[in-house]
């Protein structure tokens, strides 16, 4: 009980948070983030090295649509162009160096820089992902505020819905929504493209399971916090129930969900791959599936690295948000 710097028995002024530890923590976070990115890149590179057979053969086969072997003379120009003839360590360093400069490699299939290809297609995916995250939060918070610790039936309903929706696969929910709302009821277009109407069903498909997940995590915390004495204190001052939930409990209860959101962004992008396929929506989803089927390794690794990067950045943002919400963590 009590902070470390206080002396019992004296009325000392409280501890003012010092600047240095706060900055130090940010610096550590950035350093850790760089480490994660480097490790991810290393892993990705070595997975590529595990490719059975020669990469040059693969490239040529993709180009010609064949499945044959080639002579060393035929393979040489390809190897030189992609740098396969150099020792692995050199390739590795070049790869890392390239990443640091934003060069994600060159696509085997399209022979264009991966970054260019991705940036052309990624727009609608980002829109979809961000919209889904926001929707998921809104759904989750509304459900919790309204159903946590109410009459037994209501609480159970809210909780049950969260468990159910959290386990729904994107491909199934998407198909159901598509079939019911687009095909049968014809409310939304089947092929929505990048329009706003075309955004609704895909965003719902991603948002509902995530809302269930966020809801589950927050609900546990919420109900625990509702029992805390400081909530009773607020009630004893005359605060109404909903006000107590919003003004006091919420801030305490969302912390685990905020942590979750950092991971969620990366997971949503990968979910977008499926959803874009179901709804035939433009974005990197279809592009990356085709790339994988065509064994276009640089393109796929490029997307993987991009997602890793987004994951790391969102985690840092989450840490900052955390410190804002809970000042005790500021050091």
């Amino acid at each position: 009980m009590g902070t470390f710097a206080e002396t019992p028995g004296t009325t000392a002024i409280g501890v003012k948070p010092r600047r240095a530890p706060w900055l130090k923590r940010i610096a550590w976070r950035v350093l850790a983030a760089i480490f994660v990115l480097w490790a991810a890149a290393t892993f990705t590179f070595f997975v590529q090295e595990l490719l059975p057979g020669s990469k040059a053969t693969l490239i040529l086969n993709q180009e010609h649509g064949t499945q044959q072997t080639y002579s060393a003379k035929e393979l040489k120009p390809v190897e030189e162009r992609y740098g396969f003839d150099e020792p692995v360590t050199t390739q590795y360093f070049n790869y890392i160096k390239g990443l640091a400069h934003g060069d994600l490699g060159t696509s085997y299939q399209q022979h264009k820089p991966v970054l260019t290809i991705i940036s052309e297609e990624v727009g609608p995916t980002i829109v979809l992902t961000v919209t889904s995250l926001i929707l998921a939060w809104i759904f989750a918070l509304a459900t919790i505020l309204l159903t946590a610790r109410r009459k037994r039936a209501v609480s159970a309903l809210g909780s049950g819905w969260e468990i159910f929706s959290a386990g729904l696969p994107y491909y199934w929910l998407g198909v159901i929504l598509l079939v019911v709302f687009s095909i049968e009821l014809k409310i939304f277009p089947v092929q929505g493209g990048t329009s706003v109407e075309g955004l609704v069903l895909p965003a719902l498909t991603l948002a509902i399971p995530l809302a269930g997940f966020i809801g589950q995590v927050t609900r546990d915390e919420f109900e625990k916090v509702l029992d805390q004495p400081f909530v009773t204190s607020a009630r004893a001052r005359g605060m109404g129930d909903l006000a107590v939930r919003v003004k006091h409990v919420l801030r305490h209860a969302v912390l685990p969900a905020v942590t979750l959101s950092g991971w969620a962004l990366g997971a949503l992008i990968s979910g977008a791959v499926i959803v874009e396929t179901v709804f035939a929506r433009p974005g990197i989803g279809q592009m990356i599936v085709t790339a994988a089927t065509n064994r276009d390794v640089p393109l796929v690794s490029g997307v993987v690295m991009l997602v890793a990067f987004i994951y790391v950045i969102s985690n840092i943002l989450v840490d900052v948000a955390y410190a804002i919400i809970d000042p005790r963590l500021r050091g």
Partner: protein, 596 residues
């Protein structure tokens, strides 16, 4: 929450105030209050018809142990008994208003404005994420006290009223940034912000350091002097005796005794009240038993030790440093030395942060010392490598404040006890016999063996913990706040048990507590710690009745002594002194009354 008015049985005229407790000037009148919990058909009644009343400027104390229903009864007055509660009464009037007819909106208007409610421990009763100024302001805002600027001034005024220095700065701080005393004052300020006529304090001093307790009582006293009515809920009779005009003693949902304070403390009528008063450990109770439980016939045999005269546990110049989360290295144990002789109790007393628990763990060698050393039974203890130490761990055991967390959640009592036996038993039968013997020594039976700790009561769990500690036949038992979480009457039984065991087995205790009364009751010698340092050390009576160091003086002054006016006539109760101990000088001699 549902509230109803009791209908009298048909045909009978309903008697109001059958126990003649109401007076003309009463602010609050409660009659035949009943509270039950549960759904529809499955309602368990917790409070079985209690009545009380209160006038302005008076303090009513509701005293009882856990489960007595005291807290629930008080919460009915602000409608905070919870969603599944059913409240009914013949009468529940506050300031002329009928609380039984209140709806949600009425309650919200009443809470904070006409009745203020103070909970215990500001560390959990205030929102840690908000500045205290905001918490105080909340009460004003909720009742539309005024525009922002005026409210801010009022907040500062309130903070000054409760004695918080430099309120302009402190108002922006969060509870964890303030010291214990200051945040309790802030909590009080938030409850009295709208100057309510009635203040209810629910266990306002529990879990607080004694000096902080004293500050809280001071504030409540001041509020009373300003003409407020006060309801004080507590299990601590001593705290209550400082403030209360009337005392209601509750147990099992009934009020067993309801009397003016002076009368209750000098001539308690109900045997339960008597037992409660008796059970309070203090300077006066030294050498006497606290509970009416009989002493066990045979508790085992004392071991004879060759080095009987030498100290069994000796600590020399202990140091321990910790790095806090903010990077600052603090010296938690600062040059602490003590010695403990075989068969005696050394009490270590201090407030939170004093380093007493860390010292205990250093003595147990569960933590490595950063400086100095500990010897056990004359041989090196703290300097040994753990491999060597393990062989001698049988000589020193420990019991904790919360026994439940010290038991593996999957184990039964039998498994817990067998685990503590160690080597030296040939057969399963021998082991079973020994653990049964140990259980009997602490007042349990063989039937408790297959039970899980969760199925036992708090007192029974602590007994199991004591039995486990006795298993290896230790020379020293380190007791880390072993009774702090127990109800007064159970605490009394456990303290008696520990004393009996010491008499029989000649075991030593290193007894850690923040409760000066307990320490004074059970210790032969006392070590007072503050901020990691030893502030005073000596015989219990010397240190605690005639303190030298200013900190000790402050601690002793903060201890609420039971205000017992001199009794007239023979005392109707008494306890036999502990075997082999001389009665302390000045203690009343009961031997004649007992012999009669």
């Amino acid at each position: 929450m549902s509230t109803t008015v009791n209908e009298g049985t048909a045909g009978e005229p309903r008697l109001l105030d059958p126990e003649n407790r109401h007076r003309q000037q009463d602010l609050l009148r409660v009659e035949n209050l009943r509270v039950g919990f549960g759904e529809k058909r499955d309602v368990t009644e917790i409070v079985h018809g209690v009545s009380f009343s209160l006038a302005p400027g008076e303090c009513l104390a509701i005293v009882g142990e856990s489960g007595s229903g005291k807290s629930v009864s008080a919460r009915t007055l602000v409608g905070l008994t919870g969603g599944s509660s059913h409240v009914s009464a013949d009468r529940m009037e506050f300031d002329g208003r009928d609380l039984l007819s209140f709806k949600d909106r009425d309650w919200r208007g009443l809470r904070g404005k006409d009745i203020g409610f103070i909970l215990q421990d500001a560390l959990v009763s205030l929102d840690q994420l908000r500045p205290v100024g905001k918490e105080i302001d909340e009460a004003l805002k909720l009742h539309d006290w005024g525009p922002r600027r005026e409210r801010q001034e009022r907040v500062i005024e309130l903070m000054e009223l409760v004695g918080i220095p430099e309120p302009e700065v402190r108002a922006h701080m969060r509870p964890y940034e303030l010291s214990g005393g200051l945040r309790q004052r802030a909590l009080i300020a938030s409850a009295i912000a709208m100057d309510p006529k009635l203040i209810i304090a629910d266990e306002p001093t529990t879990a607080l350091d004694m000096t902080v307790q004293a500050q809280v009582l001071e504030q409540l006293q001041a509020a009373k002097a300003r003409g407020k009515a006060l309801i004080l809920i507590s299990h601590d009779l001593a705290v209550v005796s400082q403030l209360a005009d009337t005392v209601a003693v509750m147990a099992g949902g009934d009020i067993l005794e309801y009397a003016p304070a002076a009368q209750l403390f000098s001539r308690p009528e109900h045997s339960y009240t008597q037992r409660l008063i008796e059970a309070i450990p203090s300077a006066e109770s030294r050498g006497a038993r606290l509970s009416p439980v009989e002493r066990k016939a045979s508790l085992g045999t004392a071991r004879a030790y060759e080095d009987a005269g030498a100290p069994v546990l000796k600590a020399e110049r202990l140091f321990k440093h910790f790095r806090g989360p903010d990077g600052v290295t603090r010296t938690v144990v600062n040059d602490v030395s003590f010695e403990l002789k075989q068969g005696e109790t050394l009490g270590i007393v201090g407030e939170s942060g004093s380093g007493k628990t860390t010292t205990a763990r250093l003595a147990l060698a569960l933590l490595e010392v950063d400086g100095g050393g500990v010897t056990l039974a004359g041989e090196e203890w703290s300097g040994l490598p753990e491999r060597e130490r393990r062989k001698r761990r049988a000589d020193i055991s420990v019991i904790y404040q919360d026994p439940l967390s010290s038991f593996d959640p999957r184990w039964t009592v039998e498994q817990i006890m067998l685990d503590a036996l160690g080597e030296g038993y040939d057969s399963k039968a021998a082991r079973k016999a020994r653990i049964t013997e140990l259980l009997e020594m602490v007042g349990l039976e063989a039937e408790h063996l297959p039970r899980r700790p969760l199925q036992l009561s708090g007192g029974q769990r602590q007994r199991v913990a004591i039995a486990r500690a006795l298993g290896p036949q230790p020379r020293v038992i380190v007791c880390d706040e072993p009774v702090s979480a127990l109800d007064v009457s159970i605490q009394a039984q456990v303290l008696d048990l520990l004393a009996d065991l010491q008499d029989e087995l000649n075991v030593s205790y290193l007894f850690i507590s923040h409760d000066l009364g307990v320490i004074h009751h059970i210790s032969d010698r006392v070590l007072v710690m503050c901020d990691g340092k030893v502030v005073e050390f000596g015989d219990a009576d010397d240190v605690l009745l005639r303190p030298h160091h200013p900190y000790t003086k402050k601690l002793v002054a903060a201890l609420p002594a039971l205000e017992r006016p001199e009794p007239t006539g023979p005392r109707p109760f008494g306890r036999p002194p502990r075997k082999g101990r001389p009665a302390p000088a000045g203690a009343p001699d009961y031997s004649e009354e007992l012999a009669a």
